[in-house]
Symmetry: C2
DNA sequence: TTCTCATGGTGCTATAGTAGCATCACCATG
DNA sequence: CATGGTGATGCTACTATAGCACCATGAGAA
């Protein structure tokens, strides 16, 4: 299986920039103007205007009354096609259903640039379908899923990813992430404690990782044997991850 | 809300072609070579080779051992982002769950070129999550969802769509579709009888339609009051569609 | 075994498409 | 009213791209 990175002869810059504009617009989840998008991505605004206009012409974007761009009707087609091609959500959902018997939030997410985007985020207080597409992107370096995925990447590549661009991580942030990545590699799962009552653990799916599966909102304050509890939960995650991998990759 | 079609000054042809290549590769659901893709889309193969190489470089495609291209790891990101942006599946699933009490197959699909691509296809013999991404594309002119969506389109645009390219509809096929479209406009739902034991009805979602919701595999042989039954089912579909539209568009 | 044909991929270079500057119309704010 | 920001376009220099020619490889047929 081939990882991304190697450029062909004559890579097509318009396509690279166009897809970046599309994904950034989707990520923002609000109408966004071409100059803002251009500043955001460090692209010249005229070019962005043409790319967004082109995306609008093919239906993936649409213009709002105030001439900003948001996702257009073609996004539903893209969702249908990519969802079926990916198969990740379809494979993972049955295991997510069983994991929800822990009475914890379960999350399935992927890493896009410096954020985790969620395919699923829900618990058994709601029906399974309410968890689909239910969570907004979250900073990867603060996320257990993000940390798990980054920990599975080549170290220098992960470093480069988090340190490039205007939204690069600060020194402190990078040090925090590095510690968590080291722990993740040692433990086989990542752990982020947002506050004493809210801890998240995650396991990466795939090698190289394509996604992460997490238990979220774990309240350790109520748990006597914290280590044993975390060990059990991470074991369940790893088990589910192995099954998902088998379903996806047939290994 | 803006529909697609109007080209900006300087539309970007590389982006248009690149996304077409991406979507066609995904649609094929198998590794595909650049020359085949070029013939398929009537594009020069060198350009396709560069576009596919570029898509591979950004992770949306990957090369197989025999140098063909299939979806790459970036597809999961695209799925997560487009699923959340689209919101269609998330909005529709609760209503799909209730519709499944008819003990019929329920389908949610979108129109891509001349095919319907499915977000959902399942019944209550399986869990809801087994229906996600569960069905392959199907020829739109033979599909009730396709017919419903086409019936909601401007007539000349639908005509042009189905009559262009090497896979254009035959005269007979076009006549059949036109009859069904006329019936759909009159009835408010589309109906396709695949065989006496298998009828599908569908209602378009949105105006202009972004998708269609269907009951499939209806066995009319067992039904005394066929007209009443279809009227009731289509009423349930329309009801669900209105609710989905309200959730999606706030109308 | 050899030959033929189809494949994916690249170099080269002409050129068409694109990038970016300048400009415009419009809107919001002070 | 002036100012500044916006999205969009025209123009044109220029460069990224398109397409031809070629290569290496593999599969199938004779």
């Amino acid at each position: 299986m081939r990882t991304k990175g190697l450029l062909p002869a004559q890579p097509n810059q318009s396509l690279i920039k166009g897809i970046l504009c599309l994904q950034t617009m989707i990520f923002e989840a609000r109408p966004i103007g071409t100059r803002e998008l251009g500043r955001r991505l460090n692209l010249e605004h005229t070019g962005v205007n043409r790319l967004m206009g082109t995306l609008a012409a093919i239906g993936l974007a649409e213009k709002t009354a105030d001439c900003k761009y948001q996702a257009g009707p073609g996004i539903h087609i893209l969702a249908a096609q990519s969802l079926q091609s990916s198969r990740l959500l379809a494979c993972a959902l049955p295991y997510i259903r069983t994991l929800m018997d822990e009475n914890l939030l379960v999350s399935l997410g992927v890493l896009w640039r410096k954020h985790v985007c969620y395919l699923f985020h829900g618990d058994n207080r709601n029906t399974l379908e309410n968890g689909i597409g239910a969570s907004k992107p979250f900073l990867a370096f603060k996320s257990s899923i993000g940390t798990a995925i980054l920990a599975s990447m080549d170290r220098s590549m992960a470093q480069r990813l988090m340190l490039q661009g205007p939204d690069r991580l600060s020194k402190d942030e990078m040090n925090l992430l590095n510690r968590r990545v080291n722990d993740t590699i040692r433990n086989g799962y990542s752990m982020v404690t947002h506050n004493p009552a809210s801890t998240t653990i995650a396991v990466a799916i795939g090698k190289p990782a394509i996604a992460g599966l997490a238990f979220a909102n774990i309240n350790l304050l109520k748990i006597k044997d914290k280590r044993g509890y975390i060990k059990r939960l991470s074991g369940r995650l790893s088990d589910a991850v192995h099954r998902i991998e088998t379903d996806l990759f047939g290994t």
